[in-house]
Amino acid sequence: MGATAILGVGHWIPPRIVTNAELAKQLDEDGAVLAARTGIAQRHYIEPGLGPSDLALEASAPALRQAGLEANDLDFLLFATMTPDLAFPGAGCLLQEKLGVSPIGALDIRAQCAGFVFSLLVADRFVQAGTYARVLVAVAEVQSTALDFSPRGAGVTPYFGDGGAVAIVGKGTEGRGVLAGVMGTDATDYEQFWCEYPAGRQHPVRMTIENLRLGLHYPQLDLDALNPIAIKLFRKVVREVAEQGGCHADQVAHFFFNYVHPPTALEAADSMGIASSRVTATSSAAGHMGGASLPIALSQAVEAGRVGSGDVVCLAAVGAGINWGAVLLRL
């Protein structure tokens, strides 16, 4: 029985570039300091009015084309985002409409920065069970409308950008596809990377003017606490996924490490002896787009011919939750 393969992948990043210099002014920071501290070159923001479902729609066209499929060939949609178009229903439902497909199922999941790994492994189960043959996996974030652009946000805001990606998955030709997959969560200290409000657990109303004025609806990120944990987790997932896949790290053509702070992702790779030419810190070029940075980086690498058919790639993510995961994939 064939493994679940990525039959096509596409991405879309909005054209508007926000430089460190531009952001630094708003955040009362220095652009060069910001660049050095974050390891992020620039980020892209949508023009207000677009949601994750719009980004995913843009990414769907090239992904479907690469897979040689039409939207109507899809059996199921899966959408992972932290910044949905609406509180509910989910972005998956909206994408179903925008693709103009029949009322197939649209599963909306929440798994934060590991959203692509989690949703790919969930889609893999639907395919391997024989329930659905062709599944569209969308991961997209519009974070620019959720950020604090006052100096209070200087520690968090520069990391994030907007973007989306789509992978079309189904049974691949022999030898191709998911070789191994791991995912995990340790919520012991989930407050290290979170956004508290609106909070359904606040009685009697989940959001007040006071909550807003305190900025508790903005993401909070404690990198000092999180970075060392992230390094350990990248080492753990890469070891586990390689073991499960019966594959040595040397056989992996390229590693994609998805983490909010690119220098930490590179440090993790370096600590495993992975040469810098074989790893992409997915958030470095266009900011951290949550779970979406990972498939965007994969799509860009495929597009540029840096990885191609037959190559084994390792997609790994660590992020809010704390969630982590990795997939070993033969393209």
Partner: protein, 339 residues
């Protein structure tokens, strides 16, 4: 990854539910909004609902349901391979409420994710769990459906059309492999139709606006943090899609309506459930309803009802149980279980 044994099915090994103790009757609602007890009962079949009375989230209700389900399944929390949490009223904006549940259970490393499919959330989650168990990727899946609606309802005259319908509550199931042939979860069927997304929604926070939440949205006249529903529209689609997705499940298994021993519809509105039963020509004793006591608990409603049906002796070994849901999205779904 893992090999597939095509004959293997998943089954529900244990089930639990929890509703907070504070009861809010229709008479209580008449004191905070311009409505009448008769109007609420006539339109929805609801007599009362349960609301939390302090800072409690969906995970706080969910963990109590989960502990009972785990005990019933003779499963220790650390033996769970996957945690799925279905809700539309998360504890916090991010991360997933499944994370809060994991911490409350005192376990680590188990992957935890939220399913955000509104009234169909429990059945979408059941379908995900089913795939993991059937393919051998998980031996124990904990699936919780829970809502704390009360912190998000407009319990004034402005919000009465929606506010009177919902209640707080949680249900949980533990799934694992089925040993008996032809028993367990026979199939699941999932659908979505986003063109009607705005017919039943909570708009805010919305990534479509910059900023996605502000003072006007929180405290303004429009009440954009509160659910909005075109009730007639939802009703009309529900009474079509429920029978359709139930028949789809039966057809997929070569069964007929007459084979159903118990239908447990998502408890959206008693009038919807009654019309669905009438359309299918299912006698009243084959349809389980408890909305009169809980209101619509969204992702919680099916597991709460399933547990109560079991406790009431309404399900015997070998019975064919049909679960079905319709709601915001629109999403709709069904599952057939040979108990």
């Amino acid at each position: 990854m893992q090999s597939t044994d095509a004959s293997r099915k998943a089954r529900i090994l244990g089930i639990g539910h929890y509703v907070p103790p504070t009861v809010f009757t229709n008479a209580d609602l008449t004191r905070v909004m311009d409505t009448t007890e008769e109007w609420i009962e006539q339109r929805t079949g609801i007599l009362e609902r349960h609301f939390v009375d302090r800072d409690l989230g969906s995970s706080d209700l969910g963990v109590l349901a989960a502990r009972d389900a785990l005990t019933a399944a003779e499963t220790a929390p650390e033996d769970v391979d996957l945690i799925l949490f279905a809700t539309l009223s998360p504890d916090v904006d991010a991360p997933a409420t499944a994370c809060m549940l994991q911490r409350a259970l005192g376990v680590r490393d188990v992957p935890a994710l939220d399913v955000r499919n509104q009234c169909s959330g429990f059945l979408y989650g059941l379908s995900v769990a089913d795939q993991f168990v059937r393919t051998g990727a998980a031996r124990r899946v904990l699936l919780v459906g829970a809502e704390v609606h009360s912190s998000g309802l407009d319990l004034t005259t402005r919000g009465r059309d929606v506010g009177v319908i919902f209640g707080d509550g949680a249900g949980a199931v533990v799934l694992g492999p089925e040993d008996r042939p032809d028993h367990g979860i026979l199939s699941t069927h999932l659908h979505a139709e986003g063109r009607y997304a705005r017919k039943l929604q909570v708009e805010v926070p919305t990534s479509l606006r910059a900023p996605r939440i502000d003072e006007e949205m929180v405290a303004g006249e429009e009440g954009r943090l509160f659910p909005k529903m075109d009730g007639r529209y939802v009703f009309r689609h529900a009474v079509t899609r429920f029978p359709e997705v139930i028949r789809e499940a039966l057809d997929a298994n070569g069964l007929e309506v007459a084979n159903i021993d118990l239908l447990i519809p998502h408890q959206a509105n008693l009038r919807i459930s009654q019309m669905v039963a009438a359309t299918l020509e299912l006698p009243e004793e084959k349809v389980f309803n408890n909305i009169s006591r809980y209101g619509n608990t969204t992702a919680g409603s099916i597991p709460i009802a399933l547990h109560e049906a079991l406790l009431a002796g309404r399900i015997a070994a070998g019975d064919l149980v049909c679960l079905a849901a319709f709601g915001s999205g629109f999403t709709w779904a069904s599952a057939l279980i040979r108990w």
